[in-house]
């Protein structure tokens, strides 16, 4: 088991390195000139002179050979140094340390909501025998997934904050302020889980062992929840990793809509201001979170499915 975990950890390290490298390549090697773009965004002065551009290049170390830049940035990364923001001059790691808790809080609640909502919808779609009902329940996730989350967020603000004044709208702290953003962020996840788990539950219910249990006299909801859910859970667990990637991306939009000072809003600002060190730092930290969850998901498989437990032991024993 320990070598299995060790291999997974090595893969996780590869993913973070890959995220760093891809970002580096995209930001330094693509045809666009980020420094010129960045300076043209500055409010003071007119168009940047070539001299200004070369000064900023030297400041950022962009005038060195790309390979040297890459390895020096990689070395800094290993020491936890993500560079300095061009806009504010502050250390990127400090900025992220400030905004990360906001995003983690939002993401964690949204993840719980997505799982709870998705499982509920999937169970509801598979209970009962009415074909019409099943058809309707099955179309619910694909409707939810089609809604742009920036629009859903604004509609929720309109209805619950501006019209009924139940929840605070913008820049709110505390649990009440989290309700609307978390729902907005969770909705696509609810749909994703409901779709995958619903399908998997449906095919599990066709298995012969379910007929056996039914013949022994168990009720439909007991069969579904006690005997079906665990067997059908594997595909849903797999997409949970994917779901976390979507939550990270969704946080960019949701935090912008609700003006929450989190990592997602920071990267939005950083892209607007062409603040490359901040963009790169947040992408690396986000991929770290992404890979951590996927690691947890991988380690969850053997718990859910004993067959995988034995193979992973066999692999480890070899």
């Amino acid at each position: 088991m320990s070598s299995y975990v060790g291999r997974r950890l090595a893969q996780a390290a590869f993913v973070v390195w890959a995220a760093f490298t891809v970002t580096f390549i995209a930001l330094r090697l693509l045809p666009g000139d980020p420094v010129a773009l960045m300076l043209s965004k500055r409010s003071t002065g007119g168009a940047p002179t070539p001299q200004e551009i070369s000064t900023v290049r030297a400041e950022l170390g962009f005038d060195r050979p790309v390979v040297v830049q890459y390895f020096s940035a990689l070395g800094d990364l290993l020491q936890g140094d993500l560079g300095r923001s061009i806009q504010s001059g502050q250390a990127v790691s400090g900025t992220i340390a400030k905004s990360l808790p906001m995003t983690l809080e939002l993401g964690a609640i949204a993840l719980v909501l997505a799982l709870a909502g998705g499982v509920t919808l999937a169970l509801a779609a598979n209970l009962g025998t009415s074909a019409v009902r099943r058809q309707i329940m099955r179309s619910v996730p694909s409707i939810i997934i089609s809604l742009p989350s920036f629009w859903v967020g604004l509609l929720l603000i309109q209805v619950f904050s501006l019209h009924w004044r139940i929840f605070p709208s913008l820049n709110a702290t505390g649990l009440r302020g989290l309700v609307l953003p978390a729902i907005t962020l969770a909705l696509p996840g609810i749909a994703l889980i409901a779709q995958v788990l619903g399908k998997s539950l449906y095919s599990t219910m066709q298995e012969p062992y379910v007929d056996t249990i039914r013949a022994s006299g168990a009720g439909p909801s007991r069969i579904l929840i006690v005997h079906g859910l665990r067997n059908a859970a594997i595909p849903a667990v797999t997409v949970t990793g994917l779901l976390v990637g979507n939550l990270i991306g969704g946080a960019v939009v949701v935090e912008t809509v609700f003006s929450r000072p989190g990592m997602g809003r920071d990267i939005g600002f950083a892209v607007t201001n062409q603040d490359l060190p901040v963009v790169q730092g947040i992408v690396v930290v986000a991929s770290l979170a992404f890979v951590a969850v996927n690691l947890a998901v991988d380690l969850l498989y053997p718990v859910l499915d004993p067959r995988m437990r034995s193979t992973s032991r066999l692999v480890a024993a070899r």
Binding site: S142, I145, I248, F290
Partner: protein
Amino acid sequence: MTATVFDVGRFASPASNAVRRFGSQPGLLIACAVLLLVIGWAVLPELFTDQSPVEGVAAARFASPDWQHLFGTDELGRDLYSRVVYGASLSLRAAAIAIVLAFVTGTAVGLVAGFFGGAVDAVTMRVVEMLLSIPPMLMSLVLISALGFGTLNVGIAVAMSSVAVVTRLMRAEVLRVRTAVHVEGAIVCGARWPRILLRYILPAAVGPVLALAALDFGLVVLAVSSLSFLGFGEPPPAPEWGALVAAGRNYMATAWWLTALPGLTVAVLVLSTTRLARALESGKSIR
């Protein structure tokens, strides 16, 4: 036990079969109409509105939706419906760029990697894994930081965030098809590899990839409009759909239609394309 016992469609001609399918599913008909309408907006906006998308009438600021202004007017008295109509070409263009770029690149690379195997395949798959290590939305943001704003760049950014998935699927399909009898036959007959690749493997392997493209189109429209909402599309006054919603944010308390209706347009379009993609997929599996 919901299996269809007797499939009438099997004995009918494909055309009458299609008509039957549409007739029995009004949802499909509506989805098709929506898609055609939006394509019409994009190609010939003058046909659908006679009001200017950029010039406003100062007297008609913040008019709520009525027959003259279907979607109401904005803070400059511009007709929101005509802005949405003219915005269709921008939003659809970015989505089309994204989907074509992602699927042509992914198909080509996956085809080559799957067919040649060995080092080419190993390198390709490592690159695919690297691209998949970044959540799609962040991947798009990185590319936009590097390339700058605008419809074309948003399209490229969204394409790059989905090209890895396409490559992986195409490669898997090629691996499946490569050992098929008709491909082995072609090799035995002495066909050259470009012919084998393009004539025998590509058509047999591309089906699931095209199905994915159809399903992905809705998600691509969502991604494009999200990036446009964040302000990374064409600069104002370009009426991109996401940007329209973002502009309406400032007037939410007084003019609900400025955020609600452009967003609704996106939602309805995405819903329709997804519905059509599903129908195409299930139609194929019945055959």
